[in-house]
Symmetry: C4
Subunit: 210 residues, 4 copies
């Protein structure tokens, strides 16, 4: 039922509206993560121990925050290249937002199960699958943009390939961690932290303004 | 008490402010949906079964996410046509946002009742009425924009009629599902999913840039 | 410690940044209201009765939604007149946002107490005081903008007075309802609904484009 | 893996996207604070006493609101000076948002523990450390912007130093309050309120338009 009319409009659809909506969803998903950390009940006597005892919650918060931050950063680099968006780009983007919005649930699951050996492998698997899904959709979003000529025409092919290449290694990392997490959940958890940090920290020394 | 003065101002009211506020509400409503999915209590022994057992929550999450996504998409197509907004457009828009913001409640209701035969028909009815209401208001918003000459003057009448026509079939679908849901709640639930997908998936093959 | 430097900067502060932040807070406060409506527990047998029994929650949701919507609308009319913002405008605006953000709490209080005669008068008073506070600060925001020449210079004095006058009657209404609510809480609740509707519905017939 | 390509892009990255995302996170964090205030259970008999009894919640709400408001204000002054953002600015900014998003947790901790002498010192310490962290990162963000020539070139050095100086005293204040809070938690709580007010209230008399 989507026809020429919408096609034209969606093409014209300012990327700004899509960015505003996406930024909103990213910002809310990243901020809702804190609701997962609950104040320990009946712990007035030794609040310090109770607060420290909640380390899995803080760890899960930091990992999910870093991951959503990395996805937001990659998303803003992708849209930076865009000349316009088409109807498919809008839909793939919605799918990405669905997975990002879902993340607070596996985060809570992880925080509550990481210190229980049986449940932990289930929780880390669910967590890893969500991250892998988000990574795959983000990669698909970018590949679609390049394939459908949504990027600015003057962009060099080499430049496009660099970004394509950069979105891939994380996927392998997530896949590896999912398998590893079945046997060593805690190792996988720190693996997810490493992947997020890997995406976030610029390795080359700062060269000032270019 | 709204007089000439406000009329002039509201007319001048940048659509951008209305869009920013609406995008915010859409983004938050769509992201709050995840709070409806709770971590199964006392399920550390068999977390996998407990997580899988929650399929109604995931289903409700996906349906509501797709529906809000479709309404956001339609909303952004509508505002794309606008030359300016008037005082009534702003108010009808607030009514649409009221219904969209309300959606997390029927979503939770649905997720918790879908596997109980008696409660399920009540929950799907409440859910369907909310979607029908949102669809009606969205349609009213567009009809008002066309009737009050808020759209760009150069837009062809045929183009306007296409969008008018496209906003209608979903209403019939929602109405049918509400009736069906009284007897077969689960069928209606999948019906709501189908309607959202119907709005979201562009059927014609991708033709690249137009 | 706020000195010339910040004064100059704050003066230059694009109203757009203030609007974006305010729109975000308004959008979130209005959407969080739905969290106040909880799914009735242990009501699978007669979900319909349980859902209908929650009418105070729906009423409180609608009143608070309409009120925040009206404040947002008034706020966007105010900022529409602005030429620039100064350091005081930013701070008064933060105070307005503090009261708007606080509203979900008295809303929940109202929803849970409206059918209990003793608690209801307390809840409606807290609710009314919050609305009165928001109305006073909104009025102060506008008066400050006019007095400090933040509005566009070409705006006619008569036009400014009209908006000043329009922001006042609601305050008297809130004051009256607070007193009335001490004795007849339910009457005050509907009074708050009326005031919000009064602000929202444009009374004069629609004259199309001006 | 962040290479020249991203460097160029991130440099070009419109500050507007970073501002929109940051505004979203600030707006959500500031609005989520209200969720910390719960309706007193089983208090229908004497709701007034129950509502008044919750003063620590209101106090914590106001302090955290004022603090996030002050950080937002400082953040918008900082970005006002920016000519462009680089890859490090984006990452330091994410770290700031992580701490701001985290604030609802220590706020709840504070609200629930402030009237219990043992737990209070733990809660105020956690609260103070979060504020100190946010202040340090905000200061680092600004120092990086100046050092890496991200600010507009025409800005006078003296002007930059003023802002640098203004971001420092609060840090000493937080440090002092953290130490004080170990022995007199309630004094520290009011100290945090004072620091936020100190940042928020412009001391010099209003001189109208400059």
């Amino acid at each position: 039922m989507t026809d020429d009319d919408e096609s034209r409009r969606t093409t014209v659809l300012r990327a700004s509206r899509l960015e505003a909506f996406s930024d909103g969803v990213f910002a809310i998903a990243i901020t809702l993560l804190v609701l997962e950390i609950s104040v320990p009940e009946g712990s007035e006597e030794d609040l310090l121990a109770a607060v420290l005892d909640q380390w899995p919650s803080y760890l899960a918060y930091v990992i999910s925050f870093a991951t959503v931050g990395a996805i937001w950063l990659a998303h803003s680099v992708v849209t930076e290249y865009l000349h316009h968006v088409d109807r498919w780009f809008v839909r793939i983007n919605l799918l990405l937002l669905l997975l990002v919005s879902f993340l607070p649930f596996p985060t809570r699951l992880l925080a509550e199960s990481v210190d229980s050996s049986e449940a932990a492998s289930v929780a880390t698997t669910v967590y890893g699958l969500t991250l892998l899904g988000a990574g795959l959709v983000l990669s698909a979003l970018w590949r679609h943009a390049v394939r459908s000529h949504l990027v600015h025409e003057e962009t060099a092919d080499a430049e496009l390939e660099v970004l394509t290449g950069k979105l891939t290694p994380g996927l392998a990392g997530y896949l590896g961690m999912i398998v590893l997490g079945l046997f060593f959940p805690l190792v996988a958890v720190f693996g997810y932290l490493l992947i997020a940090v890997f995406y976030l920290v610029p390795f080359r020394p700062l060269r000032g303004r270019t």
